[in-house]
């Protein structure tokens, strides 16, 4: 048993390095004083400096933040409602519709929403991107809320109702506070997913509105520059903070 355990630990360590080394390389080269991601020349902040003077990048960052905030807000409202009703009733249509956008390849949602928006004569931009992001965020919020719902002791709400609380009072004073960590975790996940989405945004963005991932894509298509490393590092830092918060609030949410 001992030897097998050691073998298992070594191979697991190998897989962890496979997961982290590439990202580490991106971070390290973002501080390298050379245009090439090859030899280490010396430490510099200049790529970050360049980044904060890049007008297109700043516009893209602003767009990303607007879209992510709006879609997280709306997806949290809709996702919470979905999670609660799915938990309470044996529904057929809603659970499938909540999962389907997550289960299908992203490109399908991207192109079908493109067809949809064009059919409605909608101009592509911040609004179309936000509407698309809400669609795939609802499921993640719903799953997070649902996981939390199943941990709530039913007798608490029943007791409140027996003591004469109205359904609304019962929801405000009992269910909502107990549900809050699941809702907040869902909102943070929705925000992260929206900030990170590339594929769906790529199809519904139109020509004028860029987001951070679209900006990275167009830069990477032309050439590999350390400026991309710098924005990547910042994005990773943001995600790290958000997801650690989610893990603290609701450990079950990330696993579903």
């Amino acid at each position: 048993m001992k030897r097998k355990n050691r073998l298992l630990k070594i191979s697991a360590l190998g897989v962890y390095s496979f997961l982290y080394l590439p990202l580490l390389i991106v971070v390290i080269y973002s501080f390298n004083d050379s245009k090439l991601n090859a030899e280490w020349v010396g430490f510099t902040w200049k790529w970050y400096d360049k980044l904060f003077n890049n007008r297109e990048m700043l516009t893209a960052a602003r767009n990303s933040l607007i879209i992510a905030s709006a879609s997280a807000l709306i997806a949290t409202l809709l996702g919470t409602l979905a999670g609660m009703t799915i938990h309470k009733y044996r529904l057929k249509l809603l659970p499938g519709l909540v999962i389907a956008p997550i289960a299908m390849p992203d490109i399908l949602m991207g192109v079908s929403l493109l067809l949809f928006f064009i059919m409605l004569n909608m101009s592509l931009g911040l609004l179309s991107i936000t509407l698309a992001h809400i669609t795939f965020c609802i499921g993640f919020v719903a799953l997070s809320v649902q996981a939390r719902m199943s941990n709530i002791d039913r007798s608490l709400t029943e007791a409140a109702r027996d003591l004469g609380a109205t359904p609304w009072q019962c929801f405000r004073k009992i269910t909502l506070p107990l549900l809050a960590p699941g809702i907040i975790a869902g909102a943070l996940m929705a925000f992260t997913l929206s900030i990170d989405d590339f594929v769906i945004t790529f199809f519904v963005a139109g020509v004028d509105s860029s987001t951070l991932p679209l900006q990275i894509y167009s830069m990477v298509k032309i050439a590999i520059t350390p400026e991309v490393n710098a924005i990547s590092t910042l994005l990773m830092l943001l995600t790290l903070i958000l997801i650690t918060l989610v893990a603290k609030l609701s450990p079950g949410a990330l696993r579903s």
Binding site: A12, L81, T85, L94, P105, I107, P167, L235, A247
Partner: protein, 301 residues
Amino acid sequence: MHTSAWRKKLVSQKLLGLPPLAYLLIFFAVPTVIMLFASFRYAGDYGGLAPWYYYEQGSLSFDLTLENWQRLFETDIYLQLFLKSIAYAVLATLLCILLAYPLALMIARSPRRYRDLLLLLVILPFWSNFLVRIYAWMIIFSPSGALTHMLNSLLAIFGIAPISLMYSPTAVIVTLVYVHLPFMVLPLYANLEKHDPALLDAAQDLGASRWRRFWRITWPLSLPGVYAGSILVFIPVLGMFAIPELLGGTDGIMIANVIKQQFVESRDWPFGSVLSMVLTAAAVLVVLLGAKFGQQLGQSK
């Protein structure tokens, strides 16, 4: 009075599910139907879609066609690309199982207080930006990168000409595995965690070797986790366009690259819709097959 009040409550609370239901119907179900419909329409003169009905001498005529679907079978290019994409997805899935299994097993067998942390370490890279993770491999595979350099100096010792890793199917497969690995680890772990260690102890007492214990107990019990993870990896890989586009070159393209090309570059939306519908059907089929396998496993226990 009492029952009607209850019914009222039931109805009103079920109504709460209506807004998300409506939203998903409008922004997910309807667009999918529109895409199906678009696959029977003509392409517009300047790309996009042509009108599907017109008035001529006061009567309404429809302008729909099967041409786009016929085009799918005119050459075997598309069939080959689908098969190639399926092959890539199968290979990526198998490699994910190979890498994820020891990791998931290690986490499931480590002390309970470390498990959440170890699992979080698997999840974190998955939540970092998708393009950033692809970009990391563009650096690694780039001709000036350390990996290519090392590999080529090693090959030079044996007198083999230098090779390029960038823009090759190998680069695509490695990155596909890298990006989707957490999808395999999580369901596998969720399954392995539930195994009763007493089974392994009993087998050991009865003299079963380590390998025998693994293949006769752990592996068969973990199959539902393997299937779940395989579906989670296979479907997004099948529809992937960013990784082949950035790392694949001409040899490494997959079916989703052609879909993207139809919608963005050649602007032939009807044919793009045809290819998208075939991809949708493939994904749905995989989910259904997976569900059926899972059910059979559940029944046989």
